[in-house]
């Protein structure tokens, strides 16, 4: 097992410091070199940056529109909470209710008229001297036809 003495730590720290100085120095030279990037590359980097900013703005708008329905929902709730809103709702529903009632009334009157017509025919058949079975006889039907002519 390595035994670290005070001087070992001191020399390690000194070495770290030297390495850091060297690293920073090389990095500063790299930065200097990076400044002389070719114009076409600088232009493409500028374009990339602008594209990123456009996307950032779009992302922000998306976040804002995502939160917008909450506000609209609150607005509608506020309108519904107002008593005038119920009258408005009743006023909108009344024509529909009248239409349904009207259709039901027409159907009822039509049914009654049909029943009355059938009852009239039945009454006429039953009150006649001729038995109803006679109308099913082909000979009698022919007789009626020739008499009409």
């Amino acid at each position: 097992m390595t035994k670290y003495t005070k001087s070992t730590f001191s020399s390690m720290s000194h070495r770290d410091s030297l390495e850091a100085r060297f690293g920073v120095r090389v990095a500063s030279m790299l930065s200097e070199r990076a400044q002389s990037t070719a114009p076409d590359i600088s232009e493409r980097l500028r374009f990339a940056r602008e594209q990123a900013l456009v996307r950032a703005q779009a992302a922000r708008r998306q976040v804002q529109t995502a939160s917008a329905p909450v506000v609209v929902g609150r607005g509608r709730s506020a309108v519904l909470a107002n008593p005038l809103g119920w009258w408005f709702k009743l006023g909108s529903a009344a024509p529909l209710a009248l239409l349904v009632l009207g259709l039901a009334g027409i159907a009822h009157v039509h049914d009654k008229a049909q029943i009355a017509a059938v009852a009239e025919v039945d009454a006429a058949l039953l009150s006649d001297d001729l038995p109803p079975a006679a109308y099913t006889d082909p000979g009698f039907a022919e007789y009626l036809k020739t008499n009409r002519e």
Partner: protein, 189 residues
């Protein structure tokens, strides 16, 4: 939430370093530009609600992930294994190498600019960039994140997905490899 101006300023400050760092890794300018653009857009779309102070670390993570995704897409596994392998060649000879001497040498050559020789300075800068580009990928990543992006050890470890000890080791090896390579190229006292 970072404003448009904060985001723009941040991207402007980091874009060239991001491009260089990615170009070192993928060794292709067009691909590096695509990766940087993709990373910028990911940052803008997904982290637009984050405060400006969080952007640097987030961006470095996104950039590292995007670079890894690029390697996966390219399916150049052999190249990746080669690039991401540890610095080989029988380990370090830290004890034998005097980094202080090297540091003085590099500062003497570049730090105090000779007005008569700016071409030489450009050549030195180019040489340094080339040597950084030739570092093994993990060492280069650790070195650039620590000293160029100025992340601390913990942040670098978080971006690289490794321990803080590994970051220190990678950085130390990178510094010594660079110093040695530069000395071999004649950039020494």
């Amino acid at each position: 939430m970072a404003t448009d101006k904060e985001l723009s300023d941040f991207l402007k400050s980091v874009e060239k370093r991001a491009f260089k760092r990615t170009a070192f890794a993928v060794r292709d300018d067009d691909s590096a530009l695509d990766i940087v653009q993709d990373s910028m857009i990911r940052l803008a779309e997904k982290y637009v609600d984050r405060p400006a102070a969080e952007l640097p670390l987030l961006f470095q993570r996104i950039l590292s992930n995007a670079t890894m995704d690029w390697f996966r897409r390219q399916k150049v596994r052999n190249a990746v294994v080669h690039n991401f392998s540890d610095f080989g060649g029988g380990g370090d000879d830290d004890g034998e190498f005097d980094i202080l001497e090297m540091l003085d040498g590099i500062e003497g050559n570049v730090g105090t600019e000779s007005a008569s020789d700016s071409v030489s300075r450009d050549q030195i800068l180019q040489l340094i960039e080339q040597q950084v580009g030739e570092l093994p990928a993990r060492q280069r990543e650790a070195f650039l994140l620590r000293y160029w992006e100025e992340l601390d050890v913990a942040e670098t470890a978080s971006v690289m997905g490794c321990s803080e000890g590994s970051v220190k080791t990678h950085c130390s090896r990178a510094v010594h490899a660079l110093a040695k390579a530069l000395k071999a190229k004649g950039l020494a006292p």
